[in-house]
């Protein structure tokens, strides 16, 4: 699609491009436009119909949004902003410099400005900063007919018209009515008869990660956000929740790979930023792995006597590290999706211990046998075999428990993933190896 747009632009086939763009979804147009040069992007954007332009605008990279706003006449800016929902405008504003923000705030109505300013006050990553203040509100005395008429009246400017929020005195949230039930019920039915009073509520200061989990569990098209006194202040819609779920997943992957999280895509992130995001962890892990080196240095006499011992260090380190990261990844994910709770720590230890025995014995037998066949050296074979069992047990127990301990210490369990666990397990494996070697081989 990107190639086609470039071709049509290069050949100045604007009419054909206009037609082509009219057949595409706004989400796809935005992805393609984000791949164009500044000027081509502006040219292509101007060819979009007004209906689609706002939807595409929301999905553009923020530098392109800024570029466009600076090129827009006041009238054009107003046209685009008028079609945005309050939370979308806030998303755009959050990435803009002060002068552009001022121009945006001057282009919206007084009501919208008040809503925008309110949403901007919530902390980043809180439910408050995700929500929109435009929702369908019903009063308790409404009938189905009145409720449907109300939707028809105000629905054009509402992000989710399929969920109606029934409010009591002081905007206290009483219940929720699905449009499905309104459509399928008799027009004279009181909406209080249809409303669900078991409400899943989000609080304004809840973390966005929690919000993502709720949507993943209840599959609603929107959920209500209430303040401390239970008054409805906004709703969060599914599209924003899906974005959060995706964002949080990527963040987990990045932390688990010892990379500082970054919202940009891989290709859009500059070399400098990539290096910056990786170097701190690498330095930290490098320092901790010198501990393993120090342990080895301490046993210089041992491998001076039996040099072949050194050749087993990589295999023992790798196996320990891999066992540890298997356990830690499974536990980190279990914690992330609430399958494992911190109070399950003893269950995890018991399970990992038994898994470690099983896995350790198999690895140990396989390796011990190979070594015996290759070197005909029983004590070497026993040393490596025993070390494997010990190393696997330590690795599985560390991998299983450290993420839970991190969570108890209010740290992100994901930091206890592969790289850190591997480094910790390495020291343990090497220490176990030389201790056992000294005993078994009588060095």
């Amino acid at each position: 699609m990107l190639e086609t747009i470039k071709e049509l632009l290069a050949n100045k086939m604007f009419k054909e491009l206009k037609k082509y763009l009219s057949l595409k979804e706004p989400e796809d147009i935005a992805i393609a436009l984000n791949g164009l040069s500044d000027e081509d992007m502006v040219l292509a954007f101007r060819l979009l119909s007004k209906d689609v332009a706002s939807d595409v605008f929301v999905d553009l990279d923020s530098e392109f949004q800024e570029k466009l706003i600076n090129l827009f006449s006041d009238k054009e800016l107003k046209e685009v902003l008028d079609k945005l929902f309050v939370d979308e405008t806030v998303d755009v504003i959050e990435e803009m410099p002060a002068d552009v923000i001022e121009r945006i705030l001057n282009s919206v109505s007084t009501n919208q400005r008040a809503s925008i300013n309110k949403l901007l006050q919530y902390p980043d990553d809180s439910a408050g900063s995700m929500m929109t203040t435009e929702f369908i509100d019903f009063t308790e005395d409404m009938t189905v007919k009145e409720a449907l008429a109300h939707i028809r009246k105000v629905g054009k400017n509402r992000e989710d018209i399929y969920t109606g929020y029934v409010l009591g005195k002081n905007r206290l949230l009483r219940g929720i009515v699905d449009a499905k039930d309104l459509v399928l019920s008799d027009s004279k039915t009181k909406i209080t008869e249809l409303m669900n009073e078991n409400i899943v509520r989000i609080h304004t200061l809840d973390d966005q990660e929690e919000v993502g989990k709720l949507f993943g569990k209840y599959y609603e098209t929107s959920l209500p956000v209430v303040d401390n006194d239970g008054h409805l202040v906004g709703i969060i819609t599914l599209d924003d929740a899906i974005d959060v779920i995706k964002e949080e997943t990527e963040e987990d992957f990045e932390i688990m790979a010892a990379v500082t999280p970054n919202e940009d895509t891989y290709l859009k992130t500059s070399v400098f930023k990539h290096a910056k995001n990786r170097i701190l962890w690498l330095l930290l892990l490098m320092i901790s792995s010198t501990i393993t080196g120090a342990i080895i240095a301490k046993y210089e006499a041992a491998f001076a006597a039996v040099p072949i011992l050194v050749a087993f260090i990589p295999m023992l380190m790798d196996t320990g590290g891999n066992c540890g990261s298997q356990a830690s990844t499974l536990v980190i994910r279990g914690l992330a999706v609430d399958d494992i709770k911190p109070k399950d720590i003893l269950k995890v230890i018991w399970k990992e211990f038994r898994v470690a025995i099983g896995v350790g014995v198999i690895l140990s037998l396989a390796n011990g046998l190979r070594i015996y066949l290759q070197y005909k050296d029983l004590s070497l074979s026993i040393t490596v075999g025993l070390t494997l069992i010990v190393a696997v047990i330590i690795a599985k127990l560390l991998g299983g428990t450290l993420p839970i301990i991190a969570k108890k210490l209010k740290l992100d369990p994901a930091i206890m993933a592969s790289p850190l666990i591997t480094t910790i397990c390495d020291s343990c494996s090497v220490l176990a190896f030389f201790t056992i070697a000294m005993q078994v081989m009588g060095i």
Copy 2:
């Protein structure tokens, strides 16, 4: 919640439990029931109102579903099944033994049985096996009024009533109408004026991973599934798509930790299965890490001459491994969310090369300086410093390219994650280390 249910059951406070359960969401009840013993689960299930029972039933573990079906009278079974959508019934059936399946098929209507049999024929993990055949279909000549009347008539048995599919001759999909537009438009409007003809279609044999991506991009409540000739055969609803997104994410995490994917939760998976899911990768990686050992053994003369060299092996191995897994994780995720395409391989190489130079030089200087200060040995300092730069470059290039190559070979890029990349990078680091040491230190 689980504790409360247990307490109330233990005290035989069934009336109070019934009241308590009536205040909870089906999703939460199912999670709690899955934690009970067989008998308690059955007791608690019988206390649920009929409306909620089916929703809870769908979310129960399959062994509990089987248990309940065996206890149900034919009438009870029919009541529960009647409230399920076809795709939900299929999900239940897929986990049951043959005799239970037969009983289920005998309890549903002839129409339902035909639909179920059709869905059962699609391959696992295909769009066809996820879809439901119950959707809202419109004909092209309908007005808004007729369309709304049609929704009222058939809506009760439809999973998504907010999206209407306009069908032409032979069920050819013509367009899609949102309920929002029906509600907000004049009742005499023709639905062909409201329908969107730019349709995002899913094909019956598309992989479920693709389906998840489409929902993550377009945020629709349902998407149409068509056969090879463009005839509408079913729809996939958002709740199933969210489940797939979650499942695919967990699968990626597991593969990236060198664990065979498993659909059960960590705590529900038996020790035997945990061990089975981990041992194959561990054996494979153990074998490959003996290559690193073999390389070391080859250089016995070098570390016999300069024993301190051995102490740097863990640090070099870890740093190489970590650099490699940082790059591979970012690229694997980029591929998974389509931010990186296989054709971007040269861009990735060029970016990783520059990042590696930056990161490598910093790590090298930090370490070289430390070694010089500690050992006052310039050639050792230069050897380790140079090795670090070389090892980082190799690791970043391998980490960046191997996932893309795996994708080109139609393998899952996720296998090129931390454990495998670490093992490969280890060999390279150790080989570089001894080669450089021989040259610089003149061993």
